[in-house]
Amino acid sequence: MSDFMLKVRSPLDGIELTYGDVAIREITDRDIVSIAIPLGGTETLSKAVISAYQTELPAVGRCAKSHVDNAHFLGMAPDQYFIVFDRSGSESTDKITSKLGKTGYFTDQSDSWVMMRIGGPKSRTALERICPIDLHPTVFPEESVTRTLMEHLSTIILSEGNDHYLLLSARSSAGSFLQVLQKSVENVL
């Protein structure tokens, strides 16, 4: 047995910030796995997802929720989904393999991103300063998801409804991304 232990660190050490009625919080208890569809394997994967998660795979740009592991399937690209789910003891891809078998190509993305939630009445006004996507609820309703560019950072944004958004940005630039978010909120308060 090794004499050494490896401790886990999240990108922003689980930061939580509140500005008036806008709150920013790092989410640290969710895993992300990319699922790529093997050529010609859409149906097989789709069936596996329905049987394991009781949900249909979403269209690109949409999110489908499952009560199993509190999983969210994000339609990222024509042949790719992200599944975001509650972290458990086992390795993330093992967990997905245990559910979906070999119906997709799985890649762990849990450590590739910093995951932030921004919420509160002025959160959309704050995001207006950095997000080129129209976040108006008629255009980007709850469970819409997409990747875009915010202040030079490629960022995935998911509408959780009611002025709440989940943001995923590259882990290595998590500090810069946090500053971007903070500045946006400060500038509109």
Partner: protein, 95 residues
């Protein structure tokens, strides 16, 4: 500019990276006896019309799709946007 992504709707051009003439999809057969000439023309003599142009854009800060965009180089008006993969398959590039 705004590119109306076939799956994601209108998106700002700053999310995309430009490559150029969509005929870059039509990579020549290297086994052809005139391969050198074909590759030269393929890579260097690209379409450059003053008018409608079919061109490749990559949605780098989006869904990572390569798109074939039909755009007028005089007015920048975009009339068609397709997934390049579909275009390539339609052109018979399935291996």
């Amino acid at each position: 500019m705004i590119i109306d992504h076939p799956l994601l709707g209108p998106r700002d051009v700053s999310e995309f990276v430009y490559l150029g003439d969509a005929s870059l999809i039509n990579r020549p057969d290297s086994q052809n006896e005139n391969a050198a000439k074909h590759f030269y023309e393929y890579l260097y003599l690209r379409e450059n019309p003053a008018g409608e142009h079919r061109e490749l854009w990559y949605h780098e800060h989006g869904d990572r799709s390569w798109l074939v965009v039909t755009r007028d180089t005089l007015t920048h008006k975009i009339t068609r946007v397709e997934l390049a993969r579909d275009t390539a398959l339609a052109a018979g590039r399935n291996k």
